[in-house]
Amino acid sequence: MMPSGKSGATPAKPTPEAMIIIVDDDAAVRESLDSLFRSVGFATRLHAAPAELLAAPLPDLPGCIILDVRLPGISGLDLQGELARSGIALPIIFMTGHGDIPMSVRAMKAGAVDFLAKPFRDQDMLDAASVAITRDRQRRRETQAVDGLRARYETLTAREREVMVHVVDGLMNKQVAGRLGLSEITVKIHRGNAMRKMLARSLAELVRQAETLGLPRP
């Protein structure tokens, strides 16, 4: 996704590293934030209303959302909940004209990165944004790891999964064979295949992977 605004403004960055999504109903506020982030090399995307944000596809980039608490049609806090429900896990930085403590507590509890009172110092905003992006990058890495694991798990046959479940539950090959009505040698082969496909170097690692994937107990 290309950053909005002047594309020539962010030189030497054909694919941006991060994307800042700015949601504010005030055009001047949006544009000034846009200019600020672009001046330090971020890509930006601007939305005037929450509905626009929800409708547009999200970029496959680490990033964060900068949100005014008070937005037309829906409050920023409600939008935060809405985003969480739709599985959008981008970190949120709130801006407010009249930050009151209960509101900021609520926002922070719901996972906001920061809560800045307008007008804020540019450095505060940029710091908050880099914290958010780091956090998002981390989250993405974790998600990616789980995603890879899941993809590998998908390649197991039904029998291999069955064997894996019992093995990680702590059963011996013999016991597994007895439970599944297989020969011990067959169990051994399935177990070897599962560990190879899962890239598990030890039984302990296979157990951790099963936990990460949240596999059911036999």
């Binding site: 005030d26 000034s32 200019s35 001046s39 801006m95 004209g97 009249h98 540019d122």
Partner: protein, 514 residues
């Protein structure tokens, strides 16, 4: 005599002596002498005639005193003396022509007495009536001018060519007959003498009011009322209410009475009331802004934030190894625009709470609606009210105080948004303006709130009536007063469960916007 004593008492009791009641002392002497002379002639001279008839003269003289008792005494004395003289001269045994003569005399005296008494009764009533009216005229605190307009009636005839000239000419034909003391005080004249008998028609300062009065007079109206400025002796003017009564057409007496009430105090009271209303309206505006303070803070903060952030961004563009001047220019342009915007917002709010005297001016309805919406737009958006505007194009202008009319609309819109605050149903606010007939403009503010309870409707516009816990209950009362001060009306229609609409009807200004 005892009569003179009572007369003195009467005078000292406060009534002014009048030329209608001559002093009795002047009458008793000639009357007594005349009675004595008639009696002596009657009894001593052998004249064959009804000498006693001359007592009639005494009775008539006694009548001039204006007192019934005097006449009764005079007639009684005359009758007794006549009978005594007859008895003394002729005796009672012989009945003849002297007897006839004495009866004629007695009858004449009696008839004269009765006539004098009747006359006195009538004159007395007239006198009392005259005194009563004189007292009203003199003691009244209302200024009264008596004018003779007979010359006008005879001068009017045929179709007048130049109305203004005719009016001026006719005005010169009026003669002032009398002016009461209250009127003199009002006018600042020491005495009525200089104006009595002149055409100094000081009451009608403006020709227009005189012309209207003249029209009423010529139409045959019984009276005419007008508010006018009257000219005082020192050249100042005085606001007054004139009530002019015309004589009936068939009345040959062309006296026109003008009653004048000084309305200075009333006008001052009206001004004081207007001032008090303005103070109250100002307090209510301040309170309204207080309720909107959160949205106002947000509204002012937006451009300020844009200014600060644009400035910081601009600096960053400038401090790059390769400064991006195009971006810097954009940032500065935004700073300038947003700085202006912030100052406009502040100016708008300041003008709304400014304590300014009422200023009636021609107002464009669309602008009025727009300015009011600007004040509440941010608040409406915060509480998620969707605003719908429908101002018909080409509406005639209004004449009114911009801030006060804005206050009505702001108040109605804030009320509507508060009414909808608790509901999950769609919150829609509609402000619409259109023409109502030829000369009225209708502005409605409608919401989709829960509506107003029927039992609350009649009291809705009463001061201190409120359904909100924190409300003062002055808003709608002030709105209605303001609407009425502008010659308009503020009404409400509400349907429970469907919403409420406030309907503001205002007269269109006669002159179009330039």
């Amino acid at each position: 005599m005892q009569s003179s004593g009572t007369a003195k008492d009467e005078w000292s009791s406060g009534l002014r002596p009048s030329h209608h009641a001559p002093r009795l002392g002047h009458l008793w002497i000639p009357a007594g002498l005349l009675t004595l002379a008639i009696f002596l002639v009657d009894i001593l001279t052998p004249i064959d005639g009804a000498v006693a008839v001359l007592y009639v003269v005494v009775v008539l003289i006694s009548g001039r005193s204006g007192r019934r008792r005097d006449t009764l005494i005079a007639a009684g004395v005359a009758i007794l003396l006549t009978i005594y003289a007859y008895a003394d001269t002729h005796g009672f045994r012989h009945i003849g022509s002297p007897t006839l003569r004495v009866f004629v005399s007695l009858a004449a005296i009696a008839i004269a007495g009765v006539l004098v008494l009747q006359g006195q009764t009538a004159a007395g009533a007239l006198l009392r009536s005259e005194r009563r009216y004189r007292r009203m005229f003199d003691a009244s605190r209302i200024g009264i001018v008596e004018e003779d307009w007979r010359a006008i009636r005879s001068a009017v005839g045929g179709a007048p060519q130049d109305r203004d000239a005719t009016v001026r000419r006719l005005r010169g034909l009026i003669r002032i007959v009398d002016v009461n003391p209250a009127m003199l005080v009002m006018l600042g004249w020491d005495t009525a003498a200089p104006i009595i008998g002149t055409a100094h028609n000081f009451l009608m300062v403006s020709e227009r009011i005189f012309a209207e009065t003249l029209d009423a007079y010529l139409r045959g109206d019984a009276f005419f009322e007008a508010e006018a400025e009257i000219m005082r002796a020192n050249g100042n003017t005085l606001p007054a209410l004139l009530s002019i009564t015309f004589p009936p057409r068939e009345d040959p007496d062309g006296t026109v009475l003008i009653f004048v009430v000084d309305t200075t105090e009333r006008r001052q009271a009206q001004h004081a009331l207007l001032r008090a209303q303005a103070e109250l309206a100002h307090a209510a505006r301040t309170a309204t802004l207080g309720e909107l303070s959160a949205s106002i803070a947000h509204e002012v903060n937006q451009p300020l934030m844009a200014v600060v952030t644009s400035g910081e961004a601009g600096l960053r563009w400038l401090r790059r190894d390769e400064p991006d001047l195009a971006e810097v220019e954009q940032s500065i342009t935004r700073i300038v625009a947003e700085g202006r915007r912030a100052s406009q917002i502040v100016a708008r709010i300041r003008s709304f709470v400014k304590k300014a005297p009422v200023q009636m001016e021609l107002l464009d309805v669309a602008t009025l609606v727009e300015d009011s919406v600007l004040l509440v737009e941010s608040e409406l958006s915060t509480v998620h009210v969707v605003l719908d505007r429908a101002v018909a194009p080409g509406l005639p202008a209004l004449r009114g105080d911009r801030i006060q009319l804005q206050q009505i609309l702001v108040n109605l819109m804030v009320n509507a948004s508060q009414a909808m605050a608790a509901q999950s149903a769609p919150r829609r606010l509609r402000i619409a303006a259109h023409r109502d007939g030829e000369d009225r403009i209708l502005i409605t503010v409608g919401d989709t709130g829960p509506g107003i309870a029927p039992e609350d409707l009649p009291r809705l516009f009463e001061p201190f009536f409120t359904t909100r816990q924190e409300g003062l209950g002055m808003g709608l009362a002030i709105c209605r007063t303001t609407a009425e001060a502008h010659g308009g009306r503020l009404a409400v229609e509400s349907c429970q469960g469907e919403g409420t609409a406030f309907i503001l009807r205002l007269p269109a200004a006669e002159t179009e916007l330039a």
